[in-house]
Amino acid sequence: MRELGAEIARDYEDREPLLVGSLKASLVFISDLSRATPILHGLDFVELAGYGSAQMGGHEQIRVLKDLDADIRDRDVIVVEDVVDTGLTLNYLVRTFELREPRSVAAVTLLDRPYRRLVADLPVRYVGFVVPDELFVGYGFDLHERWRNLPDLHVLLEI
């Protein structure tokens, strides 16, 4: 965490970036990352609805449950993700934010599975750990909304 915070502080010195947490799983990570980033920076959050339309028999586009509070025009935005695998969610966020004309958009992720990527050219500039294709719980990661509160990351062996 200290290394990630130091990297961000070095790259964004005097630019007061906005860290944007993608709820809910990144909540713990962004809390620690913010405290480990020793420069002025803002915090904001966004939440997208998980894909679940088919259960209701319909088909829908992605829904933003919580949009940014901040105006990001001319700001440096750093999206804080818990994990990036296919990149579909991050791709959506980046494309959406870019329409608002920020100065820059980058991403930091605690966990990365680059070998699962469907979307290339994502601005994932800071990576905590490249991880194997396992399910994790704890440290904000959940399974059906359980175990987010575990203080450490755990690999889930069986569901």
Partner: protein
């Protein structure tokens, strides 16, 4: 099969896609949900021919993502049981090194469809 095909927003084909399985339909919905342009089975790759040039083995990946220039083959099998598909992908990469293709696993679909209880055969 009698799948209820919705009106897709990010589909870039001209005719209504005829999915071979519910899992393929769900994969299309997921791509559409995230606004990623996609095509369904737009190209068949010849993998093996006999001496007379007749096609012995061919492979048609399920999806093509034009913005990513990426073919995607969906598999609902467990990752440890996809040897045959992996062999086809390996052959495709050998014969068409310029083509980018990835397997999209049941687990990928489940991660994206967190709240959707999709009954995918394994």
């Amino acid at each position: 099969m009698g799948l209820d095909i919705p009106v897709f927003q990010a589909y870039r084909g001209t005719s209504v896609p005829r999915f071979a399985s519910l899992a393929e339909l769900e994969c299309a919905k997921v791509l559409d949900y995230y606004g990623v342009p996609w095509l369904y089975e737009p190209r068949t790759f010849v993998l093996e021919e006999d001496e007379d040039g007749r096609v012995i083995v061919a492979f048609t990946p399920d999806f093509y993502l034009p913005e990513q220039d990426l073919y995607v083959e969906l598999t609902v099998m467990k990752q440890s049981l996809v040897t045959r598909k992996n062999r086809k992908l390996r052959k495709l990469r050998e014969r068409y090194p310029e083509v980018r293709i990835k397997l999209f696993y049941k687990r990928d679909l489940e991660r994206l469809a967190q709240h959707f209880r999709l009954d995918l055969a394994s």
